[in-house]
């Protein structure tokens, strides 16, 4: 019997689940322009409650009705009310932070609500692995029957809804122009909410269907399902529902075929299957004609919206005077000296770890604050930097300082490779390409023995300069802080250099920059490469501080958290990155010392909630403080004058 049909059959359920989730993504994206990367997490939430309820003795039908049919859409509608509706038309980075906030918060919220023991997996109907029938000699399991038939029914209902019902017509009109739809008396926001409800229903369905296939209710695998779904949605150009479904089926089936044909055992083949979605996502983003112009949606009423304030205007407000920079420099020196000489050895260790995070965060400050670009792979670049540093030290006995430098070069090279395709895209496209890279790094690059060495990681010594040893953490901290100060200065310097001003011009208006003869690509690739190298430096410092580094230190999820932290604290000044880096380790340390263990699970929830609250005040918390103070300063004498003239 041929293997191919078996692979196709066993890939079909996966394809269906990817497809359901992908349809949900596309529905949401089309009605509000937000690509909800948290949709997999929503599916997880529904699947968790569904299975837990059955554990508690509910019948699967009742549990299905309550959790999938009622609770699922409710989550979508609630999220629309609280979040999505407010970020419609907002800059991509704001939209992204809002969904990343959810992505980070939902699994943590779920453990808080449902406890940390995961329920046992339950099938909706039919035992999943029982063979119910044979089709042309091939066995058909319960899971295949259920998943495929439910998907077919859903597809039928969905195409009817979109093409033959009033609601579908309204949805399509709202997608194109909410304002024009409102001029015809259609309540665009309610239509949008319904679309989100539907999207969330599909997510819950996907979650409930995948659990018996995976034999577990796993937050991680359900949450990351969204990447496969995004790949499928990308095949459909984020618009076409049929193409999206076709992409999803193709993805599910190809994965099984690869698993069937590839030799087992080799490191790279193990990574191949999970990384297929990322490869497809990358290709679709780079070659799909519609995706290269994601920004250009054709709302005939777009002329009504006020112009987005140009970045220059914003930047001018935050730019600081030269004098105050000297003051800041002096203050930094004093702080460094006092801190480095007075902390305990343990805290010196934590603080230099904080400095390494600050370094990585500065790479985001540069990339986002100056370059206006978004990257979801800064942690991966840090990982590359850290691993190369470590490998150089142990295999070539290079001085660790040189290793850090080489690590930064390697990270810069990786950044350059990623920047080439992503420079053709805008906003969301860049974010997705970098996400694909981060996932690839997780599943293919870091497990390699000469890179991250799989789960074990790499162990390395502390550096030694002549007679100065950094084995004790205090000298290391001193060195790292001075280095960090230099790097902060460098990031500010780039912003005010020719390249920085060009990047500013490009990010304010790609077309405008084109018109004055600036090459977007050269500018954005340069900034991206430098930023990746800086992240690599951070990874190197992390490695020498920790004296070890493993893939779990910088997996793709950290990239999301890092972006959220920096953007929320403010990516337009270096203070956001510095506060973020040190704050990150200090908070973590304080919590682990003083708070009960269970608080650890709450951290993501807090980060997520912060991110979401930031979305309503997108200038960044630190920056807002800063601007408030400058405003106060500039207001005081004016008021005085006015009062005097009266």
């Amino acid at each position: 019997m041929s293997q191919l049909p078996i692979d196709v059959l066993s890939g079909l359920p996966f394809g269906c689940v990817y497809g359901l989730l992908a349809l949900g993504l596309v529905m949401g994206y089309r009605t509000s322009g937000v690509l909800n990367l948290a949709l997999g997490a929503q599916g997880f939430l529904v699947a968790l409650f569904f299975n837990a309820a059955i554990d508690d003795g509910w019948s699967s039908l009742v549990s299905f009705i309550v959790w999938v049919i009622i609770f699922g859409p409710f989550v979508g509608i609630a999220l629309d009310r609280l979040l999505f509706r407010h970020v419609r038309g907002a800059p991509v980075v704001v939209q992204l932070v809002s969904v990343l906030g959810l992505l980070i918060a939902i699994p943590s919220l779920a453990t808080v609500l449902a406890g940390s023991t995961s329920p046992s997996p339950h099938a909706l109907i039919l035992a999943p692995s029982t063979i119910y029938t044979h089709l042309g000699g091939y066995a058909i399991s319960g899971q295949a029957v259920v998943t495929v038939s439910i998907t077919i029914v859903v597809l039928g209902l969905l195409s009817y809804l979109m093409h033959f019902s009033r609601l579908g017509l309204y949805m399509r009109s709202v997608v194109e122009s909410p304002k024009l739809a409102e001029l015809s008396g259609i309540e665009a926001e309610r239509v949008g909410a319904l679309a989100w409800g539907l999207s969330s229903l599909l997510a819950g369905l996907a979650g409930v269907l995948i659990v018996p296939i995976l034999h577990q209710v796993s937050s991680f695998s359900l949450t990351t399902l969204v990447v496969a779904a995004t790949a499928a949605a990308a095949v459909g150009g984020l618009t076409s529902l049929p193409l999206t479904m076709a992409g999803a089926l193709m993805l599910g089936i190809t994965q099984q075929i690869i698993a069937g044909f590839a030799p087992t055992g080799a490191q790279w083949t193990q990574g191949l299957r999970p990384s297929l979605p990322f490869v497809i996502l990358g290709f679709a983003l780079i070659f799909h004609p519609r995706l290269t112009h994601l920004a250009g949606r054709s709302d005939p009423m777009a002329g009504i919206n006020p112009p987005v304030p140009s970045l220059d205007v914003i930047r001018r407000q935050v730019r600081k005077g030269r004098n105050s920079r000297w003051v800041v420099g002096l203050a930094a020196t004093i702080v460094i000296a006092v801190v480095a000489l007075n902390v305990t050895d343990a805290w010196a260790f934590y603080l230099s770890q904080g400095a390494s995070y600050a370094c990585i965060f500065l790479s985001i400050t540069l990339l986002n604050g100056t370059g206006g670009q978004i990257s979801l792979s800064q942690a991966s670049f840090a990982g590359v930097g850290g691993f190369v540093t470590a490998q150089m030290a142990i295999h070539f006995a290079l001085p660790v300082g040189a290793g850090v430098f080489l690590g930064a070069l390697a990270a810069g090279a990786a950044g350059f490779i990623v920047a080439i395709p992503s420079s053709r895209l805008e906003g969301l496209g860049t974010a997705l390409v970098t996400l694909a890279f981060a996932m690839l790094a997780d599943s293919l690059l870091f497990p390699l023995s000469w890179m991250g060495n799989g789960g074990t990681g790499v162990i390395l010594p502390r550096p030694q300069f002549g007679s100065i040893s950094f084995n004790s953490s205090r000298p290391l901290l001193l060195f790292v802080l001075v280095f960090l100060a230099g790097l902060s200065w460098f990031v500010v310097w780039i912003r005010e250099s020719k390249l920085g001003l060009e990047a500013l011009a490009v990010s304010s208006s790609r077309r405008g920059a084109n018109a004055i003869g600036l090459s977007n690509k050269r500018v954005s690739i340069s900034i991206f490469t430098i930023s990746a190298a800086i992240a690599g430096l951070g990874g190197g410092i992390f490695a020498i501080t920790d004296q070890s580094i493993s893939p779990s230190d910088f997996n793709s999820q950290y990239s999301l958290v890092f972006l959220v932290i920096v953007v929320v604290l403010g990516s337009r000044t270096v203070y956001g990155a510095l506060v973020g880096g040190f704050g990150y380790v200090i908070v973590k340390q304080l919590l682990s010392t003083f708070a009960p263990q269970s608080f650890g699970a709450l951290i993501p929830l807090v980060v997520g909630v912060l991110a979401i609250s930031w979305v309503l005040h997108p200038e960044g918390l630190i920056e807002r403080q800063h601007r408030y103070i400058t405003q106060l300063k500039s207001h005081l004498p004016k008021k005085g004058l006015v009062a005097a003239s009266k």
Binding site: L169, Y170, K179, G185, I186, P300
Partner: protein
């Protein structure tokens, strides 16, 4: 439904010469750009106003403020005695205000027929939908030929016909027509103007924004001239 309220009006007849729309000292901005600096005027039941002025005077902005597309920063707008300032666009539409925006004003990715269904969705009862769409087709036979084509494939003039059709077959209480006949061939333009006259006879009050000054003055009962976001007290035109 609006049709009914139009009939109510006819029956009462007493509301003639009462204000339908009062625009009281509104100001509006787009981000940092101020577009209107205190504009006031009144429109009575069944009468019409031509809103004139050079490009960039703020005519479209006034229209947008009335239909709720933008929120005035200051001032008040009353419709049938109730304040509608800053209300949602769809609510204002359902009160009987139809705003045909300037420019394309159609859903490019929907077919002609789907566009009509959306435009008429809240203006006519569900039962009458087909009848009204046929009415549009008899007014603009070209649209009938293209009823299953996506609107983006129509010519500029055809798109304009599509955008206007709602007002023609389901006259609202207040019609705001921005650049009414722009892009229409002269003969068609005449037809549209004469059908405007018929709509007015049915009791609809009309605000026309028009570059063709003579046409607009011949049509409207009153002229309001705007310049740089302010009303010009002694119209020069």
């Amino acid at each position: 439904m609006i049709e009914n309220s139009l009939k109510d009006l006819e029956k009462k007849g007493s509301e003639k010469n009462q204000p339908l729309l009062v625009v009281d000292n509104i100001e509006a901005s787009y981000g940092p750009f101020r577009a209107l600096f205190g504009v006031s005027f009144t429109l009575n039941y069944g009468s019409s106003i031509a809103l004139l002025g050079p490009n960039g005077a703020g005519k479209s902005t006034v229209a947008r403020a009335i239909s709720g597309l933008i929120r005035p920063g200051n001032g008040h707008i009353y419709f049938r005695g109730d304040e509608i300032t800053g209300k949602d666009t769809w609510r204002i539409e359902r009160l009987g205000v139809a705003h045909v925006p300037e420019g394309r004003g159609v859903f490019a990715s929907l077919t002609v027929q789907e566009n009509l269904k959306v435009f008429l969705s809240h203006a006519v009862p569900k039962k009458l939908m087909h009848e009204k769409i046929d009415e549009v087709y008899s007014f603009f036979p070209r649209l009938k030929e293209r009823s299953l084509q996506r609107a983006e494939t129509l010519s500029g003039g055809e798109q304009r016909m599509l955008a206007l059709s709602r007002a023609l077959v389901a006259p609202p209480l207040l019609l705001i027509a921005d650049e009414l006949s722009l892009g229409l061939a002269p003969i068609l333009s005449q037809e549209v103007w004469s059908s405007m006259g018929e709509i007015r006879k049915k009791g609809t009050s009309i605000i026309v924004i028009e570059q063709n000054i003579d046409q607009a003055k011949a049509f409207a009962d009153n002229v309001v001239e705007l310049s740089r976001g302010k009303i010009v007290e002694s119209p020069s035109i």
